[in-house]
Amino acid sequence: MSADEQELEGLAAHGQKIVIRCIVLTFILRAAERAQALPDFVFQGLFVCVMIYSLVGVVRICSGLGESQNKKILFMVLAFFPLVNLVALVYLSVRASRMLRNAGWTVGLFGARP
């Protein structure tokens, strides 16, 4: 396996971990928001942080999967659409899992390891 391929797999694996964390964080934040556990502006700030964090994950997975620049930007934009962002993140995570499994990685619930 070449160093480039290893780097791409590493990117995809790291991006997938971030994406899975973001999915879980989004569910937790939505639940907390419904319970009105914190003031609205705090939730808005936290949602923005999760969105930016998910951007990093999206870009890393896309780079690992060898996606074009346009697709990267498209997925980055989709990360800001409520509900659509979850679908996009799950889609990217599934594709990353398939790629990593084929490369011999072990993929678990919270990400992959070599």
Partner: protein, 279 residues
Amino acid sequence: MILLALQLLFAPVAASIAGVALWALYRHERMEDGQLVRTFVFFAVMVGMALYAAISSDSVRRRIDPQFRMISEIDAHPLYDTFQRLSPDEAKLLEELLTKEMSRGATLSEAMLRARAWLTAAGNHRIGFTDQTTRLNWGRVAVDSLKELRSRDTLLCQQMISGQKVDTQSLPQAFTEKNTAAFHSALIAVYEAADKGMRHELPREQAADFNATALEFRSIKAGLEREFGADIASFISSRERQDWPAAEERLCSARIAQLEAMLTRPKATAALLIDSALR
């Protein structure tokens, strides 16, 4: 509704515009991941701020937010402005009346006309605190308004006189623009003068003799009895009116005749008579 949709879609819209900008500016380059994210976040924040500034501005809000447009129109009306300055509680009631009508599709002018009975009652309630000139002007506008009502709808005229529930939907067609403008201007004058009166800032005027005014009142009532009959004269001259059983032009004409007769008396007497008849 549109404003709510914009608020919900604020982040997606900002991100979409930022995405398009990023693609347009860097479509021939292959950026490192970190730079890509930084540039995207930078554009998204810029577009978000620009969008926020745009939808927060009054001119844009007036276009996209019907509620805000209504409130802005109402705020700019000189009559509402006077209410807000001099009687905030009544201004709140007036705003509720107007927004209720405007949310049903009426324009501000139509809503003001539908609130005419309420506005008339508000003006009548305050004339006791005003000076004689303002009271007489208010009386003249009342006469002109009743004449216009009589020529268009006898039932509406009767409803306005007897204090029955007025058919507000018919009111916009009942008054001319000239009469409406005169009514608003007279009502503003009543509120301004009443405010000064309540603060004892009005110049002292020659007061009418109470007994002589009472005699004038009886003489006007006698004239009404001769012309329109005792039942109508008592109904018009009484403060505690019960519902008049039928729509009659006589009732309207009698009220107009009564107010016109009062207005022909000397200023101080006429002002006291108008006050007692309208309040």
